[in-house]
Symmetry: C2
Subunit: 206 residues, 2 copies
Amino acid sequence: MSLEAEPQRQRLEPDARRRQILDCAIRLFGERPYASVSATELAKEAGVARGLINHYFGGKRDLYLEVIKAMVTVPPPDRVTVPDGTLTERADAFIDWFLTILERHGKTWLVAVAGGGMASDPDVGKILSDADDLAADRLLEALGPAITEEEAMALHPMIRAYGGLIKSTGREWIERRSLTREQVHTLLTDTLVVIVESAIGASHTA
Amino acid sequence: MSLEAEPQRQRLEPDARRRQILDCAIRLFGERPYASVSATELAKEAGVARGLINHYFGGKRDLYLEVIKAMVTVPPPDRVTVPDGTLTERADAFIDWFLTILERHGKTWLVAVAGGGMASDPDVGKILSDADDLAADRLLEALGPAITEEEAMALHPMIRAYGGLIKSTGREWIERRSLTREQVHTLLTDTLVVIVESAIGASHTA
DNA sequence: TGTGCTTGTTGGCACACTGTCAATAAGAAT
DNA sequence: ATTCTTATTGACAGTGTGCCAACAAGCACA
């Protein structure tokens, strides 16, 4: 007796449907660990048949890879960092910018960098590793002309490692609330400067 | 026709059987990620019925928690670190000792600290977090009387975060082989000294 | 040596989850 | 109104897991 009975099924453009499922997956995987989110629940939450997930993404696992990829791609490549200044000033500015965007997307970012709980998975590890590479490049770029090209090459793996410090420090700040933003800022800036100066000094003497 | 037909079933002491299954689980979970190791395979590998795993550990998940717990408990509480010397010397000695034991148990350690691929799981996270706490305590203790009790309190979360740097740096060294032991040694020592001095300096002025 | 008992051990049952795929119908084109 | 494309569905088969009653290995006792 309804005037406009909604059709049982709603046809959407493949891209739209794919995006809808992906958004729903990002939300659910952001709240609970991978294993505790069933494809059935995911489909129900998205108001879709479970088979559609396999149709669009191949499988639950593949969908999860997309989620992680979307999560680690969060930070936009802003360029608000000062283009000149001493190494310390540059590092300071970069960390400050990063902490600001971390203050917003912090929760999501933490889930992502933890691998969502599957860091040992080769494919997941690859995604996270690539994200680390990109982040390291961004950071080295932000430090600007203070370092040469070959110095950047040598620094790259160290900055990758430094990324681990960023993550754990961020976790202490956002999740455990055991550090203030000022403490985090100081710690990350100081260590970054030391790492860069130490490595550059070593490369100069070598 | 066998002279001494082995009995189909072999009765073991509960502790022995439990240890046997746990050892087997440590080996398998150390090689492949959690999801790809089935309880069936685990039981077959251990030469036991699958039901026995549930009987002794409750479930595959609970067994996994035991494995992680066993893995992160690897580092023995040695006391070879120099009891006196400057902060830099102490840090240097500690890092050197740590890198040496890491050279042996490195592979296992990396699997463990990555959460084996389930870091987002609350229970797994708790185990890793406790391990981080213990490691931070050990490190602060190794730095010795150079820092006071309340300084150690304030430093604790920072050292926890520093643990993240240790992990990522160790991964670059052991897994990716993008850094040499000397580079790792220098990086970790320098950053540790800076973190401690910076925090202590701040607490002195405060 | 034979018998009974304790309990470590087994195999099968029921349930949940996942990937696959042919059948279905929503929506545009005619 | 009808046809056609294809997004969408529901069911099926396979696999993994927790649970539990039945079984027997090894010890104690007569």
